[in-house]
Symmetry: C2
Subunit: 314 residues, 2 copies
């Protein structure tokens, strides 16, 4: 392997990272898809129906935001992004399993996702439950390539104290039907979204193999801020976005009487909060890269990542 081969992908000839998160995402899109393609069992292998259902849920995918966060976590701590690639890609399996289970009739009962039939519609409920189970299990197998520390970070973010817990709070709030306060809303989103975002950064740090655990606290702080920003922006998009941009009908939250940031605080104040969260995350970025020994350009990358979370159109 020459030195050129070993420079992080998505870095320019001088070995620095692209400063825009968008360029970073473009550079890593294909490697992430290729990694996922190699991780998922082919659908011609038995049990074919299970493998087909797992692939139906995974491809074509969305933004692959969590794998990108994993790679950003590696970059921010001076890690090797190629080495972090497979464990980072596996984070998408965890996100996807959660969507497959959340879409089930006994939960959100959604027939469509990204304009395609959800897993239990394209297959059946039993297969969807099992495909989700298999995706989660496979994620741990791949993340274990980065070592036990990465497994623990993922399990904590994905489990009862994290993502699964957030979904439980969300279901309880819907069943209660009562208006949710800001605290209740944040508890749901910190669990459903924030915990896996934090875990993604941490898995990337461990998988990249460079940054020590002393930077974990700062990564968690950064992840919590962009997780919140992500959700506030999401709620605002439901108000301001067009159907073409969102790929779904806007205004659905309001129509369903759902508790959202704009409903609780108004649109203006919500947009302000989202921008403030992104700025605070950007300020943490500098401390992460300094303490973690990040790659050249990593601070700008993390800052732009935080801004892109709130400025996105879909």
């Amino acid at each position: 392997m020459t030195d050129t081969d070993r420079r992080p992908m998505g870095a320019n000839a001088e070995g620095t990272l692209p400063r825009s998160f968008r360029e970073f995402a473009v550079a890593w899109r294909s490697p992430i898809e290729e990694a996922l393609e190699s991780i998922l069992p082919t659908a011609d292998r038995e049990p074919t129906r299970l493998h087909a259902a797992m692939r139906h849920a995974m491809f074509p995918g969305g933004k692959r935001f969590r794998p990108l966060l994993g790679l950003a976590g590696a970059a921010a701590t001076g890690g090797d992004l190629r080495r972090a690639l497979r464990p980072a890609a596996a984070l998408e399996l965890v996100h996807t399993y959660s969507l497959v289970h959340d879409d089930l009739p006994c939960m959100d009962d959604d027939d469509l996702r990204r304009g395609r039939p959800t897993c239990h519609i394209a297959f059946d409920e039993a297969t969807a439950v099992l495909a989700g189970d298999a995706l989660l299990t496979l994620a741990f197998e791949v993340v274990a390539e980065a070592g036990a520390e990465a497994v623990v970070a993922l399990a904590r973010g994905a489990g009862a104290a994290g993502m699964v817990g957030g979904q439980v709070f969300d279901l309880a709030a819907e069943n209660a039907g009562a208006a949710l306060g800001l605290d209740g809303l944040e508890r749901i989103h910190d669990g459903k979204t924030g915990a896996l975002i934090i875990a993604s950064l941490e898995v990337g740090r461990v998988a990249g193999g460079a940054g020590g655990s002393e930077v974990s606290g700062l990564l968690a702080e950064y992840g919590a801020l962009i997780g919140r920003a992500f959700q506030v922006a999401d709620d605002c998009l439901d108000v301001t976005g067009t159907a073409a941009e969102l790929g779904k009908t806007p205004g659905a939250d309001q129509a369903h009487g759902k508790s959202t940031y704009p409903a609780l605080l108004g649109l203006e104040r919500s947009l302000e909060i989202a921008r403030d969260l992104a700025e605070r995350a950007g300020a943490v970025a500098g401390r992460i890269v300094e303490l973690g020994g990040g790659l050249d350009g990593a601070e700008s990358l993390l800052q732009d990542l935080a801004l892109s979370v709130v400025s996105r159109k879909s």
Copy 2:
């Protein structure tokens, strides 16, 4: 710590293991329950409903066979059983999650398990799906204490190529309604039962910290044999057992027209096969303990474990 404190629990004063699996199981019952009690989040912590559902599924438990297999795997390879205890106990979380999901209306639709309401009856379907998800995730967190090698062994045994795959084959066979041949039956049970048994022995080996991976192939051979023996015996018990022994109505398999070993081969021949499988497993035990450097008495223990699988009454 004195030498006395460090001797394996369930060993006598000379530090050798009990030769009967029954005594071994009795000696380790409380430590396993205590480990599970400490692993499961308490039900007074948020999200309380999720934690309560996880505990409902876990307690009171059954024989805790997979944790015992994990400990046997440690003993057979000269490992430290106390060190293996928590990861071994976590294997029961994986078994339990599979029962919770298999009991769902979209799968086996069972209302009762061990005489108590199943998780989705005692709570609701959404909570049961999520409690299963959280149990599986927690299992990986705890098994990671034994290192990444244990995580990989568990993921392979529990995932699409193992336990989840076996359940998919089982559902497909039920939906097809056609009579299953011996090959089809074995494919289901090797996946549903055998794969996690093999993984349990291997997790125990890694968690015990002594046996090298050169013995893994033999452990897998032993596990596959007792997995098969377990299932053949199970099918026979459905014919020969009493309701009092089984805690459920005997003859249910036949009433449901289910493919079983007795249905395919007759009861006499099935009992013969079960004994033969147990004997073959016993023969592998000696090679495991020799190559793995097992504790005193480990060969007899593994032999008796294999026999107890076919001589059990429930």
